[in-house]
Each structure stands twice: as structure tokens, then as C-alpha cells.
């Protein structure tokens, strides 16, 4: 195995198992109290600020960050256990997900002291939410081709013009880490001249237009910037270093358990059916699906271990996301072929509803965060082919 793809094994940590048990207990109580109901793909669609604040109160956001920024100085393995439990329960975690997963770490790495002190404690409290402002109407996979521009005005502030799309939860969030062009495109150096800005979404000149996904749900948006004046001190990191920063961010974005557990609630519902029927073919399906899930878990855990060692495993992260999102979509057809249950959001059968939710969100799994074709290109680079 090429060393770019090899991940050192991790030993399960007692601290992680401890916090896992605490989260499990919390979730059982919340479910029993009816504060949430389980759904598929809730890290996109389950926006619930009250729930996010509860997690913040319990110290389950910003877990790995320094205490002086409201963090809890815990390991990536402990954070992994918390996120995994939340996803398995189908809990409403979308409000804070991006901020906790990648914007916070990005600020820690590149932010100024003032930016960190101002924002990180609010993220850790479950009160401040972020969006990813990368994609544009004409720039998807080819992210370096973005055209949203930021230019300095006489006061040293940034004036931003352009538009971002597919911006998940921009309508419920506070900040967008926005990738902008700060010097003109240079065909010889495509990745140069990009920068990240910390943009307060309430600034004048920003319009957030809903874009509905195919089932009518409102999760992502178009965000239009019309002469938006962003204070000069809201540059994130270095001017011109945006490409490098975005790449680092993607290692966090791509490797977590949300890349294979989006449809876990469907598996859980299927398990109830299998336990009732005892049908051997259904048992085998459950076993096959579980074996795939268990392998992905080991990979994702190993990446958490690598993050704890301060590594940036971007190539394995791309691999996990490719294999993981393929799995979370495959689960739908594995289950479909094992039962006689038509998918419908109005089904009287919870399995029919879970199938419907999973199917209607399925096209997104292998697109968001970089398409699987792009990810395989990265893996191919890891294999030494490009």
C-alpha cells in the first residue's frame, strides 16, 4: 500500500468510550422527552439551535480546541465518538455542524487573536453558525476558477462582489468563510490570488436566496454579494493563501463519520424489520451492510488518530469520503432489495419513510464536499499516477 494511503491503527481510548456513554444517555433522554425525532441526513437538514446550545452546554462542541477559546482540549478521538453518536441517532445537528467541524479549526489555524477570541467561544457554546462559501454558479469542481472578487477600498476594507451557490444553511447561519479572488486570475498560476474572508452574513449588500432541493426542502442557498464592505481585519489567514487554506479545511470536511452515516437511521429501521422477521436473507443483508460500515469506521477513526498526531491526512480523507458516500447511497438499494416496502414520505411504515428520506437526499451524498470523481483523482495522485 502506498504510504500516502496508509493509516496507523488506533487503540480505542477510555476517554472516548466514557464520553460516548454520556452522549448516548443524553440522546436517549432527549428522544424520550420528544425534543427531537430521528431522521436521515440531519447534518444537512436538522437545524435546531436549541439542540445545538444543549450540546454546547455539555461541552460537546469545540471539543478539541484550547480552553481559552471556549474549547475543552479533548482528543479528536473523543470528538469522533460524540459526532458518531449524534449521527447514529439522527439528531438535529445541522445548525452548528460546519462551524464545529471545519470553520472553528480553520480559525484556530489561521485566524487572528481577535477573530478567535470573538468567535470561537460562541461556536463552542452552540450559538454561532458558519457556512462554506466556496462554490459558485460557474465554479464547482473547478474551484480555482471562482470569480467572486474582493478589492481593498481607501479605508483598507474589502469590497466583495459576486455570488456563491449551494451554500448550505446560509439562511440560518451567522458567518460565511468565503473564498474570494483578491488578485486577478493568472492562467499560469491558477491557485494564486485567492483569499478567505470571514463574512458576517448580516452585512448590507448580502442577499440570501433559497434554492430548494428536489423534495422541496430548503437547505441550501444562493448568496449574492453586492458591494459588500467587509472590515479589513476580517481577512482569514494570509492574502493570497486561500487555496492552501481551503485544502487544509477539506481534510476536516472529508473524513468524519458524516461521510458514511448520513443514512444510518435507515439501517437502524431496517434492523427492526430483520429482528421481527428473522429472515436469513435479510440477516445477510444487514451483515453485509454492517461489515462495510465497520470498515469505514476503522478508516475514519484512524484519520481522527492522525489528526490527534497533528497530521493532515488529506489523501486518505478523500478516499474515506469516496468509499463512505458510495456506501451511504448503496444502503438504500441494499435495503430496498431485501424488503417489500415502497418508499414514501407518507408511508405508514417507518421503514418506508426512512427509505424515502434517504432516497430523496441521495444525489447529494456523492457531490457535496467534492464529487467522488474529484476525490478519486486525489486518490490516484496518492497512488502516484498523476
Amino acid at each position: 500500500m502506498p504510504s500516502t494511503l496508509t493509516l496507523a491503527p488506533v487503540v480505542p481510548s477510555a476517554a472516548a468510550e466514557q464520553v460516548r456513554a454520556e452522549v448516548r444517555e443524553f440522546l436517549a433522554a432527549e428522544l424520550a422527552a420528544g425534543t427531537f425525532t430521528t431522521h436521515v441526513d440531519t447534518w444537512l437538514s436538522g437545524v435546531d439551535p436549541a439542540f445545538s446550545r444543549k450540546l454546547g452546554e455539555r461541552g460537546w462542541l469545540g471539543m478539541t480546541w484550547p480552553r481559552r477559546y471556549g474549547g475543552h482540549e479533548r482528543t479528536a478521538m473523543e470528538r469522533y465518538a460524540v459526532t458518531e453518536e449524534l449521527l447514529a441517532a439522527g439528531a438535529p445537528v445541522a445548525a452548528h455542524w460546519i462551524a464545529d467541524r471545519q470553520s472553528g479549526p480553520n480559525l484556530l489555524r489561521y485566524g487572528t487573536e481577535a477573530q478567535r477570541a470573538e468567535i470561537l467561544p460562541r461556536i463552542a457554546a452552540g450559538e454561532c453558525y458558519f457556512v462554506i462559501g466556496m462554490s459558485e454558479p460557474d465554479s464547482g469542481s473547478d474551484l480555482a476558477s471562482i470569480r467572486t472578487r474582493a478589492t481593498r477600498n481607501g479605508d483598507g476594507d474589502w469590497v466583495v462582489n459576486g455570488a456563491k451557490v449551494w451554500t448550505s444553511n446560509a439562511h440560518t447561519s451567522h458567518y460565511a468563510i468565503t473564498l474570494v479572488r483578491t488578485s486577478p486570475a493568472d492562467p499560469a498560476h491558477r491557485h494564486a490570488g485567492l483569499s478567505q474572508l470571514l463574512v458576517d452574513l448580516s452585512l448590507p449588500g448580502i442577499t440570501v436566496n433559497p434554492i430548494r432541493i428536489l423534495d422541496g426542502g430548503h437547505h441550501f442557498n444562493e448568496v449574492v454579494f453586492d458591494d459588500v464592505v467587509v472590515p479589513g481585519d476580517m481577512l482569514l489567514g494570509e492574502e493570497g493563501n486561500g487555496w492552501h487554506q481551503v485544502t487544509a479545511e477539506l481534510a476536516f470536511e472529508r473524513s468524519g463519520p458524516e461521510r458514511f452515516l448520513s443514512t444510518y437511521p435507515l439501517i437502524a429501521e431496517f434492523a427492526r424489520r430483520v429482528a421481527d422477521s428473522g429472515d436469513p436473507a435479510q440477516l445477510a443483508t444487514l451483515g453485509r451492510v454492517s461489515a462495510r460500515l465497520l470498515a469505514l469506521r476503522q478508516l475514519s477513526l484512524r484519520i481522527a488518530g492522525a489528526l490527534d498526531r497533528g497530521e493532515l491526512p488529506d489523501i486518505p480523507a478523500a478516499l474515506v469520503k469516496d468509499v463512505g458516500t458510495t456506501f451511504e447511497a448503496d444502503v438504500i438499494d441494499e435495503v430496498r432489495r431485501a424488503v417489500d416496502v415502497p418508499a414514501s414520505l407518507d408511508s405508514p411504515d417507518p421503514l418506508g419513510r426512512a427509505l424515502a428520506e434517504a432516497q430523496l437526499h441521495a444525489p447529494g451524498y456523492t457531490l457535496r464536499g467534492g464529487t467522488n470523481e474529484i476525490l478519486r483523482g486525489i486518490v490516484a495522485r496518492g497512488l502516484g499516477l498523476r
Binding site: 429482528a275 461489515a291 460500515l293 470498515a295
Partner: protein, 351 residues
């Protein structure tokens, strides 16, 4: 120690031509002799028991290296399955240079002998089927059923009548008639019997993982060498996608199999971990073998080319020591043991 052992096995393998198995040449006895000479057929077996010492992980490393080299010798059966079972049951282990295999599918029954030979002596009745290296192994560990529970019997099968059957790679998988054979044996608990079957499955998963990794490496190498349209195949994006998909499967299998081996080293119960490893490794064969052959083109479809030595083994190994489907059922049922609402906790406990 581990690196040295692996290097020694590689050196020995490098001096051997790929071995084409036929009915007349059912195994690579020359390779076995060299491995035995170097003490490698006794790794993981304590010196007091006649072995070479070392840990389970050393034995796993040897099995993996030999699997990647398509070695036609019963090392996985001996080092990872049969010898540990004999030792755990307190039976006398045959010398490590005498090939030892295992039959665990339970088609044989054992009756305790009451003729004064003592409780450790049993009469076996029935036919052991799908026996790996039947006709090659001199001794066979047989998991038999008895009125008082599962029995692990150790049978000297040298010279016994064997039906010839082979798996897709030509590895012997025949049957042995054991009607009325007397053998030393020990009673096992049901759990011990399950664990023995699980270890066999894990041994195949270790072999699969190593073989799949090698198939990927060969395919990447070939794609870098073979030129069409003026450039190496690996420069074509369509081929890159195929290789990346293979790498995804291979990496997932390696992580799970590796973690399963470590869990067993820690003393965790092997059954669900082994089941998961076996099912995951087996299911990767479909993608990896298919794409490896696709990328190799016609040359990879020939007997001369090395690729089939591993792809044919993979096609068989995935359904040996319990089929992929059977292990998937075991895993599914095991995960539901505490009820469907406990599926998630069960998943997080397997490994």
C-alpha cells in the same frame, strides 16, 4: 522480529517460480520444505510445543506475505487455525514441518470410546468435506459434533483416501472419509467451536487482504508501464478512476482486517470481528478482481501472466471457511443479539 520474518519469507518466495497447481502437483512441496527448514512453519507456536516462538502477529505477517506471493502451501491453515486450536485443546501438536490443516464444517460426528483408551479418545464417523489441502496435509484438525458437545479431534490422515477437488485456483479442497477412525480429541464449548470457525474465517480474510493489496500494486505498476495512445494507461482519467476505486476497497479491507487481528490479540471475542473482516474482504473481490483484469487487458487473461494466481484465489477464498453469505448472516444475527434498538451499541463494540 516481524520485519526480519517477512524479509526471510520474501527471500524464499523470490527464489520460487509462480507455482501452477495441477492435480498431479497439488502443492509446492519444495517451498514448504524451505519454509520449514527456516522454522517459518512453526511461528506463533511456543518452543515448548516444538514451534519457533513468536506472536500471532508474526504468524499473520507470514501468512499475508505468502498469500500475496500466491504460495501453494498450507501455512494459513497451520499457523492461524489448526495449530492454535490443537494447543488450546491441550492435544499433542505434530511437528511443524508436517503440514496440518483443518476441517470445521461439522459434517463429522465423534463418539467417545469406552474401551479403556480414556476420555481423550474418540471414534470419528462421517466425511470431512471441502478440506483445504486434503491429500497434502498429514494431519487434520476436525471439528466434530458429539452427543456431549463439539469435539476437536486430531487425525493422522497420511495416506488416507481423499477425493480430489480443487478451488478456482487449483488449491486442493477434497473430502476425506473418516468412517470409524480413532483419534485423540477434546471437548469444546459451543463458544470455543464458534471461535475456531471464526479464526479460520479471519485467516482467509488475512489472505484476501494481502492478495487484494498485491493485485492493486500489480495493477498500478502495469498501468504505469503499458503505453497506449502514446502515454501510460495510468495517465487516462478513466483508468485512474478504476485504480482509485480499487484502492478504496483495498484500504477499507486492510483497515478492518488489521483491526480484527489486533482485537483478537487483545483477547476480544473474535466471532463478530472475524465475520465482518471476512465479509468485507470477500465483497471487495468483486470490484478489485474485475477492475484489475479490466486494466490489464488480454495479457492478464493468460496463464503466463501472474495476475490469475491471485484473482483466482480471491474468487475462491471469499467463499471458503464459511461463505460470505453465511458470515454475513452470523454478523447480522450477532449484531441483533440484544435487540434491534441495540444495533448501534453492538456495532461500536465489534471493534
Amino acid at each position: 522480529m516481524r520485519d526480519l520474518v517477512v524479509a526471510t519469507v520474501r527471500d524464499i518466495l523470490a527464489a520460487h517460480e509462480p507455482f501452477v497447481l495441477t492435480r498431479e502437483r497439488p502443492w509446492d512441496s519444495g517451498l514448504w520444505a524451505e519454509l520449514a527448514e527456516a522454522g517459518l512453519t512453526g511461528v506463533g507456536i511456543p518452543e515448548e510445543a516444538g514451534g519457533s516462538g513468536g506472536e500471532l502477529a508474526d504468524a499473520v505477517a507470514i501468512v499475508a506475505t505468502l498469500a500475496a506471493g500466491a504460495a501453494a502451501v498450507p501455512v494459513a491453515e497451520q499457523l492461524l487455525v489448526a495449530a492454535p486450536a490443537v494447543l488450546a485443546a491441550d492435544l499433542d501438536l505434530p511437528a511443524p514441518d508436517e503440514p496440518l490443516s483443518a476441517a470445521v464444517d461439522g459434517a463429522v460426528t465423534a463418539e467417545p470410546r469406552d474401551d479403556g483408551d480414556g476420555p481423550g479418545s474418540w471414534t470419528l464417523i462421517g466425511t470431512a468435506t471441502d478440506v483445504a489441502w486434503a491429500g497434502v496435509a498429514q494431519h487434520l484438525v476436525v471439528l466434530a459434533g458429539s452427543p456431549v458437545g463439539p469435539v476437536l479431534a486430531l487425525v493422522d490422515v497420511a495416506g488416507r483416501e481423499t477425493t480430489h477437488a480443487a478451488n478456482l485456483a487449483g488449491e486442493p479442497r477434497g473430502s476425506l472419509v473418516l468412517q470409524g477412525v480413532t483419534a485423540a480429541g477434546a471437548l469444546l464449548t459451543e463458544r470455543q467451536a464458534d471461535e475456531l470457525r471464526a479464526r479460520y474465517a479471519l485467516a482467509r480474510a488475512v489472505q484476501l487482504s494481502a492478495a487484494l493489496e498485491q493485485v492493486l500494486a500489480w495493477t498500478v505498476q502495469y498501468a504505469g508501464e503499458r503505453q497506449q495512445f502514446g502515454r501510460p494507461l495510468g495517465k487516462f482519467q478513466a483508468v485512474q478512476m478504476q485504480l482509485a476505486e480499487m484502492a478504496g476497497e483495498v484500504t477499507a479491507v486492510a483497515a478492518l482486517v488489521d483491526s480484527a487481528v489486533q482485537a483478537i490479540e487483545r483477547g476480544d471475542s473474535p466471532v463478530l470481528a472475524a465475520a465482518a473482516a471476512k465479509v468485507r474482504a470477500g465483497s471487495a473481490v468483486e470490484v478489485v478482481a474485475r477492475l484489475a483484469h479490466q486494466v490489464h487487458g488480454a495479457i492478464g487473461f493468460t496463464q503466463e501472466h501472474r495476475l490469475h494466481h491471485l484473482t483466482r484465489r480471491c474468487w475462491s477464498w471469499r467463499d471458503e471457511a464459511g461463505t460470505e453469505t453465511a458470515w454475513a448472516r452470523v454478523l447480522g444475527a450477532g449484531l441483533l443479539a440484544d435487540g434491534p434498538d441495540a444495533l448501534w451499541p453492538a456495532l461500536t463494540r465489534v471493534l
